[in-house]
């Protein structure tokens, strides 16, 4: 067993960390204040990352990507997690699911996404279909060789800047002993396509400037060539390509927790009360000890789950554990960091109140903590016939 990183992996970590510190941190307050990322800042980040050959690190080199494995990509995203998501969004990382592109879809979607010419967004959630994805109401009806789509998606991250969306839509229903079960198909839909609109969403507590959008389909006619994967094969492409996205939430939570911890640690040394550094009081020092222990545990759990994917091992339960644990560690660490700072931690002179707000969504998106616990326990119980 070997826990060290290779020289290349260390350099990837150092490079991404250096970039986030120099190119992301300085813009964070402005984005927080404005509630959006000014276009020139977005363009600057994107062009620098493209020049560095880091824009699509999660894609194989054969299609123009960076060729990182899951572990290396998790290390990269851990460092990105330190920075504002609104800004790091422009560090590319198109959805892996685009690898399912075939024929002319490759030229129209996969290649331009990797080159940074067209940005994508992934759409599943609906007002009445959150964790229960199969209950989606957005429906595509076959009409000759076309599909006619009607319905609404919401909470769609990244859609504000997307040139096209990868959207999961019901295309039929099967009767099963457990009741009717929807068949799902994945479609590629271009921004500006007649009948399709990307509208502003809600104002979220977390990740100001990383907007969630509402997508509406109103008799939107799409040719069959826009189907990604097979008709009615939506769950297959989802399971093949979106399996690992929970690692993103886990590893970015770890990165942010480490940044938050550094604030708490420094304050414990700088702040004096009752004639001594507050870090000398056990009430503070034991908090720090617990925080770093949990962060390290979350880090290793997450990296181990990514490593399992690289090794071709079963990883579903491990990824769920990493997602639920890392996001909950982040919640505790941001909360305790504010406690150590006292009143100052609540003021927006420091970014701690922002980290605390941002941390909240990590336990909800990409499968709530409850869904992850369901996955973990089901995996264990099923083996015993449960």
């Amino acid at each position: 067993m070997h826990f060290g990183l290779s020289e290349e992996q260390n350099m990837i970590v150092d490079t991404v960390r250096g970039f986030v510190e120099k190119e992301i941190y300085p813009h964070e307050n402005k984005v927080e204040e404005l509630g959006y990322v000014p276009q020139e800042i977005a363009d600057d980040i994107k062009s620098k990352v493209l020049n560095m050959g880091f824009y699509a690190p999660n894609f194989p080199e054969e299609v123009g990507g960076g060729g990182l494995n899951h572990l290396e990509f998790a290390l990269l995203e851990r460092e990105l997690g330190r920075g504002s998501m609104a800004l790091t969004h422009f560090w590319g990382r198109p959805q892996n699911i685009l690898m399912a592109c075939e024929g002319e879809q490759i030229e129209r979607y996969l290649t331009p996404a990797i080159k940074g010419e067209r940005m994508d967004a992934l759409a599943m959630t609906e007002p009445d279909a959150g964790s229960d994805i199969r209950s989606m109401k957005t429906f595509a009806k076959k009409d000759g060789s076309d599909w006619i789509i009607n319905g609404t998606k919401h909470f769609i991250s990244g859609a504000a800047h997307a040139d096209f969306v990868i959207v999961f839509i019901a295309t039929g229903e099967d009767d099963t002993p457990k009741g009717p079960k929807k068949r799902i198909t994945c479609f590629l839909v271009d921004r500006g396509h007649p009948g399709f609109e990307i509208k502003p969403g809600y104002k979220s507590l977390s990740h100001r400037g990383y907007d969630n959008m509402i997508l509406t389909f109103d008799d939107c006619r799409i040719p069959n060539s826009q189907v990604l994967g097979e008709v009615d094969g939506g769950f297959e492409v989802m399971n093949t390509w979106l399996y690992a996205t929970r690692i993103t939430v886990a590893t970015m939570s770890v990165g942010r927790a480490r940044r938050v911890f550094d604030y708490a640690l420094q304050y414990a040394v700088d702040r004096k009360q009752f004639g001594q550094q507050i870090g000398k009081f056990q009430g503070v020092s034991f908090k720090l000890a617990d925080m770093i222990t949990e962060i390290d545990a979350a880090d290793w759990l997450t990296l181990a789950s990514a490593w399992r994917l690289d090794e071709g091992l079963e990883a579903n339960r491990e990824i769920a554990s990493a997602k639920v644990y890392a996001s909950e560690v982040l919640a505790r660490v941001t909360d305790e960091a504010i406690q150590i700072h006292g009143g100052m931690g609540l003021m927006n002179d420091l970014p701690l109140e922002r980290f605390w707000r941002d941390a909240r969504v990590e336990r909800i998106w990409d499968g709530t903590s409850e869904i992850q616990r369901h996955i973990i326990s089901r995996d264990l119980l099923r083996r015993l016939g449960g």
């Binding site: 020289e7 290349e8 350099m11 560095m52 060729g67």
Partner: protein, 249 residues
């Protein structure tokens, strides 16, 4: 033309430096290390010369313990072509470094040495000047702009009185200042290639250089903590305080 770029492994500029308990130096254990920022600027300039066709090869050399190879790898990941690592102790003095570099120059015959004006740990600002003296090459220190035209260097130097424009024949030693350029980030393809680029290992014995210490560090201590400022009510009082208390006018 080859360009030689000496790179030094120093404490990362973000790290708050602490003095060792025994006052023999600063704490290096478990401290993040990185390439001296001025050396990064030197590497960047050398790579730009190569990209512009003014140089064929960029060689990064580091003198120090085994871990100095990481610093060389960083230079290789930025785009340098190969590295030379000279095994030596961390606190090798500027004169010894200059002698080592002179010996490497004799072997490699570069047309140009581009280096940081100083390293951010010792702030000696001596190695470039010493190297120029030992080799008999011209030196252009504190460069904030450099161009090669018809085999002559056009250089702008940052000096106390302003900006000095000079020309300089080659080969030469250039030491670079902060405003020369903004070093690039290592690219992912170059990071992946860096491992395959060769790093030659050379010992002090191979070079025949005596690197023994000539200076003795007696004690290292923290600078005194800065006292809080005061507000003054009037200009005459300000002048009086500057004259008699601060003693700066």
């Amino acid at each position: 033309m080859k360009i030689l770029v000496p790179v030094k492994r120093v404490i990362d500029y973000n790290v708050k430096v602490r003095v060792k308990a025994d006052q023999s130096g600063v704490e290096l254990a478990n401290v993040k290390m990185a390439m001296n920022p001025f050396d990064e600027i030197a590497v960047e300039q050398a790579i730009r010369f190569k990209e512009a066709g003014a140089a064929d090869e960029v060689i990064a050399v580091s003198i120090g313990p085994d871990q100095s190879q990481e610093t060389i790898r960083t230079a290789l990941a930025m785009g340098a072509d190969r590295g030379i690592h000279v095994q030596a102790s961390h606190d090798t003095e500027p004169l010894a470094i200059a002698k080592i570099l002179k010996a490497i120059i004799a072997k490699e015959e570069p047309g140009l040495v581009i280096m940081g004006k100083q390293s951010i740990d010792d702030d000696s600002n001596q190695t470039g000047q010493m190297l120029a003296t030992l080799t008999g090459w011209p030196q252009a220190t504190f460069a904030s702009n450099v161009e090669i035209k018809d085999n002559v260097l056009n250089i702008i130097r940052e000096v106390d009185s302003g900006l000095e424009h000079i020309t300089c024949p080659m080969p030469a030693v250039i030491t670079v200042d902060l405003r020369l350029n903004e070093p690039r980030y290592a690219s992912l393809p170059n990071i992946m290639k860096a491992k395959k680029k060769p790093i030659d290992q050379i010992s002090l014995d191979d070079l025949g250089v005596d690197a023994s210490q000539r200076l003795k560090t007696l004690k290292v201590e923290e600078p005194p903590a800065r006292e809080a400022g005061i507000m003054v009510d009037s200009v005459p009082l300000l002048v009086e305080k500057l004259k008699n208390e601060a003693k700066v006018i």
